[in-house]
C-alpha cells in the first residue's frame, strides 16, 4: 500500500464512519449511462447554467443595479458627459474599465443564448423520441417549467443594463402588464413603483435575476437530475437493449471523464464566442430614454417568437362600459403562449389518454414510428418558426430586399396554413420512411450492382441486411387503436359518448402505421 493510498483510505474511513457514504458510492459509481450524442443536449444546458452562475457572479462584483442618474465619465468617448443610469454606466465600466469584464459580459450573454437553445433542442430530442412517457412525465413538466423560467430569466438579464434596446423591451413588457384586464394598471404601478420607467424596476429585477430565479433554477435542476439518476436514462433501441436493461458505460471513470470533459468543452466554446463575436454592444445602443428608439429593436431569439406574434396580431380592442380590453396584446402576448405552454406541459398525459398506454417506457421511439407525435411536433415547431421569422421581419426585409408588409402578411396567413401543412407532410414522410424500412428488411439493401438475367432483363442485386439492423427496424411495437365501444357489454350507452368518439378518433390517428415485417413475412420470402 502506497502512502497516498493510505491517506485516501484514512479520509474515506473518516467520511464513511460519519455518513455511510461508501455503500451509496459503491452502487452509484458503477451506474451505467447509455452513450449517444443527443443525450448530451441537456448537458449543454446544464453546463451553460453553471457558466452563467460563474460569469454572472463576476459581473455582480461591479454592476450597480440602480436607476440613479449619473454623468458618464469613463473611457468610451462617444458617451462621455451624458446622463445615464448607474446601471448603464456600471455596465459600460465592466465593458471598458475592468480587464476581462467585456469578455465575461459576452460569455454571460452567449451562455444565456446557448442555454436556451440547448434547452429547446433537448426538449425536441425528448419529445420526438417519446422519452417523456411514463415514468418520466414529472421530469417533462419540470423541463417545461425550466424553459419558461429560462425565458423570464433571460429577459430580465437582457433588461438589466438599462440601454436603449433593453429599455424598449421593458417598455413592451410594461404594456403587456398594463393591458391585463381589471388589475393591469395597478400591477404595472406596483411592478415599476409608479409610472414607467420609474427608478425601482432595475433594482427589483436584479434581485429576481440573481437570487430568486437562480434559486428556483437550482432547485428544479436538482430534482430534474435526481429523477434522471433514479429512473435511469432511457436508451435508443438496438440489439440487446430492452425495456428492462440499460446498456452503456459506467459512471466511473468513463462517463465522469466524458461528462466532465464536456463541461470544459461547453465553457471553452462559450469563451470562444465571447472572444470573437460581439454580443449586446450596449455602448452603441446608448442609455435608455422613452423618447428614443432604434430601427430593428428586437428581443433575444428565445423571445423573438413572442414579438413576432405580437407584430402579426390583428388591431383589435374592445371598448365596453368605459373599459378597454386590448386583444391585440392579450392574444399574442398571453393567451396563445399560455395555450402553447400548457398544452406542451400536458402532452404526456394527452398522449397516454389517446393511446390508452399506461405502461413504462425506457426504450425510445424512432420518430418515424410515432408519425402522429412527430407530425404534431413539427407542426408546433413550424408555428414557432413562422412567429420567429416575423419577429425579425424588419431585419429580413432590409437584408433580402423584401417588404415588411409582405413578410407580415406571409406570417399572418402562414401561421394558420403552414403548421397544418407541416403536420400532413411530416406524417406522410414518417409513413414513407416506415415503408422504406419495411422494404429494407424484406428485400435487403440496394447494392447498385446490376446483373443481367439469362433472358436479358437487368436486375439490381439486393444484399440482405444484418440481423442487428433487421432487429432495429422491426423492434418497435405497433399497437391497434383503442376499441371504445359506444355501447358497453350490457347494451347500455356509455356516458361521455362525444369524448369517447374523440378519443377513438385520436387513437386511430395515432395508431396509423405501415405494418412492420414479421418473422413470418421473412419466411414467406425465403420460401418464395
Amino acid at each position: 500500500m502506497t502512502a497516498s493510498e493510505r491517506i485516501a483510505g484514512t479520509v474515506a474511513n473518516y467520511v464513511d464512519e460519519r455518513t455511510g457514504a461508501a455503500k451509496w458510492m459503491k452502487k452509484n459509481l458503477t451506474k451505467v449511462f447509455p452513450d449517444h450524442w443527443s443525450f448530451l443536449l441537456g448537458e449543454i444546458a446544464l453546463y451553460s447554467f453553471v457558466i452563467l452562475l460563474l460569469s454572472g457572479t463576476f459581473l455582480t462584483f461591479w454592476f450597480d443595479p440602480s436607476q440613479r442618474e449619473v454623468i458618464y465619465d469613463g473611457s468610451y468617448a462617444p458617451l462621455k458627459g451624458l446622463e445615464m443610469s448607474a446601471a448603464y454606466a456600471s455596465t459600460l465600466d465592466i465593458s471598458f474599465e475592468i480587464r476581462g469584464g467585456l469578455l465575461m459580459r459576452q460569455i454571460h450573454h452567449w451562455a444565456a443564448l446557448i442555454f436556451m437553445a440547448a434547452i429547446v433542442v433537448h426538449l425536441m430530442r425528448v419529445y420526438f423520441t417519446g422519452a417523456f412517457r411514463k415514468p418520466r412525465e414529472f421530469n417533462w413538466i419540470i423541463g417545461v417549467g425550466l424553459l419558461t423560467l429560462g425565458i423570464v430569466e433571460g429577459f430580465l438579464g437582457y433588461s438589466l443594463p438599462d440601454d436603449l434596446l433593453s429599455g424598449t423591451g421593458i417598455r413592451i413588457a410594461e404594456a403587456i402588464i398594463q393591458a391585463l384586464p381589471v388589475v393591469g394598471s395597478y400591477l404595472a404601478f406596483f411592478t415599476f413603483g409608479g409610472a414607467f420607467p420609474g427608478e425601482a424596476f432595475i433594482p427589483r429585477i436584479y434581485t429576481v435575476h440573481v437570487l430568486l430565479l437562480p434559486g428556483a433554477f437550482l432547485a428544479l435542476i436538482t430534482v430534474h437530475l435526481m429523477l434522471v439518476w433514479y429512473q435511469k436514462h432511457t436508451q435508443y433501441p438496438g440489439p440487446g437493449r430492452t425495456e428492462k436493461n440499460v446498456v452503456g458505460y459506467p459512471l466511473f471513470p468513463v462517463y465522469m471523464a466524458k461528462a466532465g470533459g464536456f463541461f470544459f468543452i461547453v465553457f471553452g466554446v462559450t469563451a470562444f464566442l465571447g472572444a470573437v463575436a460581439s454580443i449586446n454592444p450596449i455602448w452603441l445602443y446608448g442609455p435608455y430614454t422613452p423618447g428614443q428608439i432604434s430601427a430593428g429593436s428586437q428581443p433575444d431569439w428565445y423571445m423573438g417568437w413572442l414579438d413576432g406574434l405580437v407584430r402579426m396580431a390583428p388591431p383589435l380592442e374592445t371598448y365596453l362600459f368605459g373599459r378597454t380590453i386590448s386583444w391585440n396584446i392579450l392574444i399574442p402576448g398571453l393567451i396563445v403562449p399560455g395555450i402553447l405552454f400548457t398544452g406542451m406541459a400536458l402532452y404526456p398525459f394527452i398522449e397516454s389518454w389517446m393511446t390508452g398506454d399506461k405502461r413504462e417506457h425506457h426504450l425510445l421511439d424512432r420518430p418515424r414510428n410515432a408519425p402522429n407525435r412527430t407530425a404534431l411536433g413539427v407542426m408546433s415547431l413550424t408555428f414557432m418558426l413562422v412567429a420567429l421569422i416575423n419577429g425579425g421581419n424588419d431585419i429580413i426585409a432590409i437584408t433580402f430586399d423584401l417588404s415588411i408588409n409582405q413578410i407580415m402578411w406571409f406570417s399572418r396567413i402562414g401561421i394558420f396554413v403552414l403548421p397544418p401543412l407541416a403536420f400532413v407532410i411530416t406524417k406522410r414522410l414518417c409513413l414513407s420512411l416506415q415503408r422504406a424500412d419495411r422494404d429494407l428488411v424484406l428485400h435487403g439493401r440496394e447494392t447498385g450492382r446490376l446483373v443481367m438475367m439469362p433472358h436479358g432483363e437487368f436486375v439490381e442485386v439486393h444484399e440482405p441486411i444484418s440481423p442487428e439492423k433487421a432487429w432495429l427496424l422491426t423492434q418497435h411495437e405497433q399497437n391497434p387503436p383503442l376499441a371504445l365501444e359506444e355501447i358497453d357489454l350490457r347494451g347500455v350507452r356509455r356516458p361521455g359518448v362525444l369524448k369517447n368518439k374523440l378519443r377513438a378518433r385520436l387513437s386511430k390517428a395515432h395508431a396509423v402505421a405501415i405494418p412492420k415485417v414479421t418473422a413470418e413475412d421473412l419466411k414467406a420470402i425465403e420460401n418464395h
Binding site: L102, R171, P239, R241, G296, S326, V441, T474
Partner: protein, 330 residues
C-alpha cells in the same frame, strides 16, 4: 399485447470490438501522448490569458479577417481562456475514449412501483398517524387550521402593497397644458412655426423651468412629434384641422400599441411607422392606423402659436397617451 405475431428475433448485444489501443501498445502510447498534448495546449491557453491580461494594453487593436479591426486585449484574453478550457475537455474525452475501458456494461432496471405489502403498510401508517392526531374527528382544529393557513397566505400580498403607488389618473394625464411651449428634444429650445419647412419633423417635449430635471417617466408620456405638411394635404375633420397650425401637426410619439417611440416618418407617403411592431399611421388622416397591430390612432396634440410666435399646446391631450389599459374609456 401486440406481439401475437412472431416478431423478428433480437440477436442480442453485438460482440465487443477492440480498439487499436486495447491490442496495440504502440497505439496506446500514441493516444497517451495525444492526451498529454491536449492538456499542454490548455496550459498554453492559460499562459496566453495571463500574458494578455498583463501585457496587452486595453486599447491595442489588431486586424483579423472576418473579425475586422479588433480589440487585441479582449480577443487574446478570450482566446486564451477558450483554449485553456476547451483543450482540458478535449484531453479528458480523448482519454476516456481511447484509454479507459469501453466494454459495454448491462445493468437491469428496477420497477418503480412499491411492493403491495409496502403500500399497504404505508396506508396503515398514514391512517394510524391521522387517527392518533385526530384529523378525522377534531373538525374544529381542522377548520381553524385551514382558516389560519389561508390567512397567512395573505400577509405577503398585504406587505407587498407598498411596491408602488396606486395609478390614480397618472396614466391619463401628461405635462401638457394649454399654453405649454413645445421645445426641441434634445436642446430644450422653443420652436416657431416658421422654423419648420414643409416636410420637416421635430422631436419635442413640453417646456419646463430652467434647471428643473426632466424625469424619464415624464418623457415617456410627453414626447411629441411635430410634422409639417402642406395644409391641403390634410384629410381631417374641422376640429382636428383646428388642432393643426399652418400645416404643422403634433402627435404623441408614444405608440398607442405598446409604448415604443413612433418616429419613423416617411415624408413621401406621410406615414408614421413604429419600429417595434410595425403599426403604421397615416399622418394626413389624424394618425389613423393603416397597418399593424395597433388599434388606435396616435393621440393628436392641439397646437397653436403664442404672442411671440412660438408653438404652444392649445389644450392638454384629449385622451390618455401610450398603450391601452383597463380603465381607458375608448
Amino acid at each position: 399485447m401486440s406481439n401475437e405475431i412472431e416478431a423478428i428475433k433480437d440477436p442480442g448485444l453485438p460482440a465487443h470490438v477492440h480498439r487499436r489501443a486495447d491490442t496495440d501498445p504502440k497505439a496506446a502510447l500514441k493516444a497517451e501522448r495525444q492526451v498529454a498534448i491536449l492538456f499542454l495546449l490548455s496550459a498554453l491557453g492559460t499562459l496566453t490569458l495571463i500574458g494578455s491580461y498583463f501585457f496587452i494594453p486595453q486599447d491595442a487593436f489588431i486586424f483579423f479577417p472576418v473579425l475586422g479591426n479588433t480589440n487585441a486585449h479582449q480577443l487574446f484574453l478570450g482566446l486564451g481562456m477558450a483554449a485553456s478550457l476547451f483543450f482540458i475537455g478535449m484531453g479528458a474525452i480523448h482519454w476516456a475514449k481511447t484509454l479507459m475501458p469501453d466494454e459495454e456494461v448491462i445493468i437491469q432496471r428496477h420497477e418503480f412501483r412499491s411492493e403491495d405489502e409496502d403500500r399497504a403498510d404505508l396506508i396503515a401508517t398514514a391512517k394510524a398517524g391521522a387517527a392518533a392526531a385526530g384529523l378525522g374527528r377534531r373538525s374544529l382544529i381542522k377548520r381553524s387550521l385551514a382558516l389560519s393557513l389561508g390567512l397567512v397566505g395573505l400577509s405577503p400580498l398585504i406587505l407587498l402593497r407598498d411596491l408602488g403607488p396606486l395609478p390614480g389618473d397618472e396614466l391619463k394625464k401628461t405635462s401638457w397644458k394649454a399654453g405649454t411651449r413645445l421645445v426641441t428634444d434634445p436642446g430644450d429650445r422653443p420652436i416657431r412655426a416658421d422654423d419648420l419647412e414643409v416636410g420637416a419633423v421635430a422631436q419635442t417635449l413640453p417646456q419646463i423651468g430652467e434647471g428643473v430635471h426632466r424625469k424619464l417617466s415624464d418623457i415617456g408620456k410627453d414626447a411629441v412629434l411635430l410634422i409639417r405638411l402642406r395644409p391641403e394635404e390634410f384629410n381631417l375633420d374641422a376640429e382636428r384641422l383646428s388642432w393643426t397650425h399652418e400645416g404643422i401637426i403634433a402627435f404623441s410619439k408614444i405608440c398607442s400599441h405598446m409604448g415604443c417611440a413612433v418616429a419613423l416618418y416617411e415624408q413621401q407617403t406621410k406615414h408614421l411607422l413604429c419600429p417595434c411592431h410595425q403599426s403604421t399611421f397615416d399622418v394626413t388622416r389624424a394618425a389613423k392606423v393603416i397597418f399593424g397591430p395597433s388599434a388606435r390612432p396616435l393621440p393628436q396634440l392641439a397646437i397653436t402659436v403664442d404672442s411671440e410666435g412660438y408653438l404652444i399646446a392649445k389644450q392638454p391631450f384629449s385622451e390618455p397617451v401610450g398603450p391601452s389599459f383597463w380603465e381607458r374609456s375608448s
